[in-house]
Amino acid sequence: MTDKTTSIPDALPTSKRLPPSRGSRKTRTAAWLFVAPAFIAYAAFVLAPLVMSFYYSFLRWDGIGEASFHGLTNYITVLTDRDLLQIIGNAFQLVLYFTLIPVVLGLAVASAIRSHMAGRFGTITRTVLFLPQVIPLVAAGIAWSWMFASTGLVNQTLKAIGLSSWARGWLGDFVWALPAVGIIGAWVLLGLCTMLLVTGITKIDPSLYEAARLDGARPWHEFRYITLPGLRQEIGVCITVTVIAALASFDIVYISTQGGPGITTTVPGLEIYRLAFAHRQVGLASALAIVLMVLVLISIAPVQWFTRDKK
């Protein structure tokens, strides 16, 4: 008898949670009607252009005249042309600044504070640190162009502390322009990452730290074995957001350096814009666009894998 009761399909409790008559024709029609407007908008202005991008990427086309089939030539160009490779490399160098600085600093602050920022101080902190998220990236670009200008605050500070020889026009410097752009991105993303990590660390049970201390853990151990694993999800979020911001950057570069000097700060986003609308190489621009999309996807996938799945 008992056998019989336990052999009741275990599927039941889960399938019970299924909505009523979800399979029914009426519900299906309703579902389509509810989803349709969003899907049409999405299809018209994302999916269709994406398909067109893919199609263009096999063409040689100046955007006006006749287009001719070009095979994989555009892709081969993207992956072999030295300038284009440098441009893609620039984007990955930006990842270093956009991602590393906010995450490392955010972790430092979070593991130092390790509690909820309450009261007036917390409110002020949140407000200030989120300001860069609220303003247009373009405004951040202009603000920092001014910071990095020859008479800007950066040089002013360097001179004040006796490092006049370091002063330079940062954004016009072949070596320093890209790091300078990276700093702008780091500045924009710093507050968001810090707040995410501080919020994340308050969710770690404080008794874990006490238990670790009783087990003889040093501060480094606490960080390594409690803080880092506990913040895995938040770190994943920070990395995802910042990596996308770096690889798909456009606004900041467009405003602060226009990709110069030379192509030292040109990023794929800017190059797509130039190729398509200034150089009239729609095919090549589209191939670069597809490559950029794929690069973002394969950069994000492992982060998502490491930070979410194991939960």
Binding site: L12, S15, K16
Partner: protein, 354 residues
């Protein structure tokens, strides 16, 4: 004013059958309880009646109308959910009146009905509150009120008391019974709690494995369980079950029994060596110096009005006896128990009542 008929009702999720052919007649005004262990299909069956689950095969009629394809809102049913499912953003008043509003009932009529329902449930003072401000018992009332105002032909209750604490559950049980007699409506009630089933029902439907095991009044189920499952499920403490073998001459033997036991029920059956199960309710056992059940006391629970004793019989069979009063039995003692022949239940090898 409607009864309910289920004919060969089936339900399957993909290839997994959940309800395997249920036939049932419910008359108008009856209080019917579906009872069974979790996963037996009782909630699914209720939801099929409500129209929240598709019917894979068979036919459900409410009154004389086949409702298989009828939308839930047009079936004339109202349901009280286990979670109450009150709309958190609406006041109690609006929660109760939501169905009427959707039906386009005039405002004055609506108001009158809401207030009448609130009066019946003694929750007039709660009408302006939001569900979040109510206690579990109060939410329960609102959920019932929402069902009442719609004046449905059939009320459906899906384990409505399982989220309440024990004391409140007892009160609400009485209230539901009162409501049933006041409203003169058909009610179908799902629970896994046999006490609720026994106290509330006119008719109990015991389900297991998607199959109806027995339909009957509470006492029928208690006195004449149709099979081993029902015997084990209804009654507390559970019925003692002892494996026995029949012998010619109307007796049964078992290592657990001190001597061959004559059973009147067996006298006309000539087959010997049949494997049977003997069932005796703990409350039917009594101390008897010459009784057939002799064993050592393992555990004693003294409840005051009675004493529950677990006794180990030979052959590694453990039984429970509920002895009246406050017996002075001690653990480890050897006692002998007996019972009246007519209170013995016999089941065949396939589990059906002998």
């Amino acid at each position: 004013m409607a009864g309910l008929t289920l004919r060969s009702v089936h339900k399957a999720y993909g290839d997994v059958p959940v309800i395997k052919g249920v036939d049932l007649d419910i008359e108008h005004g009856q209080f019917v309880v579906f009872v069974g262990p979790s996963g037996c299909g009782k909630s699914t069956l209720l939801r099929m009646i409500a129209g929240l689950e598709d019917i894979t095969d068979g036919e459900i009629r409410i009154g004389d109308r086949v409702v298989n394809e009828v939308e839930p809102r047009d079936r004339g049913v109202a349901m009280v959910f286990q979670s109450y499912a009150l709309y958190p953003h609406m006041s109690v008043y609006d929660n109760v009146g939501f169905g009427l509003k959707l039906a386009g009932t005039r405002k004055e009529i609506r108001d009158a009905k809401i207030r009448a329902a609130a009066k019946v449930l003694q929750m007039e003072h709660l009408l302006d509150r939001k569900p979040g401000q109510l206690s579990g018992g109060q939410r329960q009332r609102v959920a019932i009120g929402r069902a009442i105002v719609r004046e449905p032909d059939v009320f459906l209750f899906d384990e409505p008391l399982s989220n309440l604490d024990a004391a409140l559950r007892g009160d609400m049980r009485m209230e539901l019974a009162r409501l049933h007699s006041d409203l003169d409506a058909t009610m179908i009630y799902v629970t896994h709690d046999q006490v609720e089933a026994m106290t509330l029902a006119d008719k109990i439907v015991v389900l297991d494995g998607g199959v109806v095991q027995q339909v009957g009044s509470p006492l029928e189920l208690y006195n004449k369980p149709a099979n081993l499952f029902v015997a084990g499920f209804i009654g507390s403490p559970k019925m003692n079950l002892i494996s026995v073998t029949s012998q010619a001459g109307g007796t049964v033997v078992s290592p657990a029994l001190a001597a061959p036991l004559p059973l009147p029920a067996l006298q006309h059956d000539l087959s010997a060596e049949a494997k049977l199960t003997l069932g005796i309710r703990p409350h039917d056992l009594a101390l008897a110096p010459d009784g057939p059940l002799k064993g050592q006391v393992r555990l004693i629970e003294r409840l005051g009005n009675e004493t529950i004793v677990r006794v180990m019989l030979p052959g590694n069979t453990e039984i429970t006896a509920a002895l009246p009063g406050q017996d002075r039995i001690e653990t480890g003692e050897t006692i002998t128990l007996g019972f009246k022949a007519e209170s013995a239940h016999l089941f065949c090898e396939d589990g059906a009542r002998f």
